[in-house]
Symmetry: C2
Subunit: 351 residues, 2 copies
DNA sequence: CTGAAAGCGCTTACAG
DNA sequence: CTGAAAGCGCTTACAG
């Protein structure tokens, strides 16, 4: 192995001090343009590669803010794993001289925004990076995210994106492909001219309607004789459950049920159990958590669509830190994490 | 954030030198038993956590040997991704002062063993870790692996295990659960009393027969009316292809074909194409590489079982390095990487 | 068995 | 704009 080229080597070679080399390489002020160019040129020539392990040792602590919904109530289905992915990544890179500020927030609307603005004040705007969720239709939250970006703080989003906000990137599931995949799975399992009853969630939520769009597109493009019966809605479970029950009672062509979200999956689990439909229909739920896992083991759910929130948050955090520690900007703007079909047989591997 | 506790803090507190604290914490010789105990106690009390970033800076370079089949010919289907997983992990942790020695070997039998023994000689036994594959029934290879272990060199295996060799761990696919999952998938797609034609591979290869065992067990345990027609064999493709063709011509109950390995998947792809059976049978291949991907896009393969060799090698490497850098022993002896069912719809996410 | 010193490859004040 | 020095938290010889 060739000896590693260091800043000292470059400095000696050029007859300047190592401080000057450092300033030149890192774009810091205080080096003449001509000298800076020559140093950069020499670094390239010598194949210099910075040692980030060493550089983290002396530089000031990087302060990272993470803001996600607190994992209570309905949010625990998903955000428990988002927090875990974030923490595991921070833990792994802890020795790189990092400080974490965790902001769990507890009401979806506006609270995210208020908390974020508050933390910016509290730390006197000395924050090096933010990772959070781009909730659609949360004005206050979006405004706060833009505030960070305007301060020059790099912002990484996960789960949901805000395309034109200026964030450095987003790591999320590919909702359209997820919907296509479910359509492909069901069309391989159901006889011709069957119907699928879909708990389609909120038409304003990207993670819900994206899936539906993909599902419909797959069926149309492949000219499949699968019909869909969609029940929209999100918050009022009682009412949605009632409407689903009516469809199940009145439409004998329904051979499968699918919920695009976690909350709806718990509901259809209950419904299938109450109506004694287990094993008579194909039933597909979304997201992995206790209730869904139990229903799968009991034969009430046949498949679970797992969007891997842990991995989404882990990778988003990783990208933010790679940028802050190494200056590496992610190649793609948006990174999609694979959605996976779980079966009863391999459920245990994901728990 | 509380200031990090360092070796210096501990030394000052105890009135000893930082060298002594270092020796005590790392189990190095040259500290009295009584003093060592007191230092360890104080470290616990103060919540001391070593900074591995700092420790890598001055310590001697860790020399890691990686030995996998070279990714040519049939091996490129799988081992290309094994090498990639290994390299990406090494790349990520490069700043921790590591040296890599790559040993690709080109004939499966015995060559692995010869190469490994040779490298041990060449570096005068000064090797800090080995990552390789536990090929079953390769006497010479197994012998060499044991040789490393006897020298006290930690050995991590991937893809295939050698249980009683004393290796520190193995990261691999769970073949039995993979077989069960395929049985579950097919039984949800095929009408009653169908048969599945299975390219069952080599009965001596764990990654082949493990899948078959899982498949059969699922069918038996769940009393499913699925029959299997198995064609064993591995090397002689012509002959296997011929036998499969005969079954397909003579047994009309066959509604699906499945190959447990990469090589067989290419073969069944050809067969289905030649016999004009695309779309008439469910066809499931194994492993992700150009030929399989192309066949999937063309509608010849319906699903691919992806065992994620990249992730297997990445995680195995990671575990070895976590041990060498941080002294963290993996909790589980064997770590299983999830096998995933790929669909045409989400294939693009894995390429 | 223990200490004092040098140094890994950087970054950060400070002085000029 | 540039240099010299100190130091991040460790590890590694060397001396006693």
């Amino acid at each position: 192995m060739v000896k590693r080229v260091t800043i000292k080597d470059l400095a000696a070679n050029m007859g300047v001090s190592s401080g000057t080399v450092h300033r030149a390489l890192n774009g810091k002020p205080g080096v003449g343009d001509e000298l800076r160019e020559r140093i950069l040129e020499t670094a390239r020539e010598f194949g210099y590669r910075p040692n980030y392990v060493a550089s983290s040792l002396k530089r000031k602590t990087l302060r990272i803010v993470a803001a996600f919904p607190g994992s209570t109530e309905q949010n625990r289905y998903y955000y428990t794993y988002v927090w875990q992915g974030f923490r595991d990544c921070m833990e792994e890179l802890q020795d790189y001289n990092l400080q974490v500020i965790e902001i769990p927030y507890y009401n979806t609307m506006n609270v995210q925004g208020h908390e974020l603005t508050a933390v910016l004040e509290r730390y006197n705007h000395e924050i090096d990076g933010l990772i959070t969720v781009g909730h659609a239709h949360d004005e206050r939250g979006e405004q706060a995210i833009r505030q960070f970006i305007q301060q020059g703080i790099p912002v990484m989003l996960t789960c949901d994106d805000l395309h034109d906000s200026g964030r450095m990137g987003c790591v999320q599931a590919n909702y359209e492909l997820t919907g296509r995949m479910v359509a492909e799975l069901l069309s391989s399992q159901l006889p011709e001219n069957s119907s699928v009853l879909i708990g389609a969630g909120d038409i304003m939520v990207p993670s819900h309607y994206g899936i539906i769009q993909g599902f419909d597109a797959y069926i149309k493009e492949n000219e499949i004789s699968l019909k869909t019966v969609k029940v929209h809605g999100y918050k009022d479970e009682e009412e949605i459950s009632m409407r689903m029950r009516e469809y199940l009672n009145s439409d004998p062509s329904i051979r499968a049920i699918y919920s695009v979200n976690a909350r709806g999956s718990v509901m259809i689990g209950k419904l299938v159990k109450e109506m004694g439909l287990a094993g008579k229909l194909r039933v597909i739920g979304s997201d992995l958590f206790d209730e869904n896992a139990a229903n799968m083991k009991a034969g009430i759910l046949n498949n679970i669509i797992y969007k891997n929130p842990y991995q989404q948050a882990y990778l988003a955090t990783r990208r933010l830190l790679d940028y802050l520690i190494k200056g590496e900007k992610p190649i793609e703007d948006v990174k999609y994490v694979e959605s996976v079909v779980l079966f009863n047989s391999n459920l245990s591997m994901y728990l």
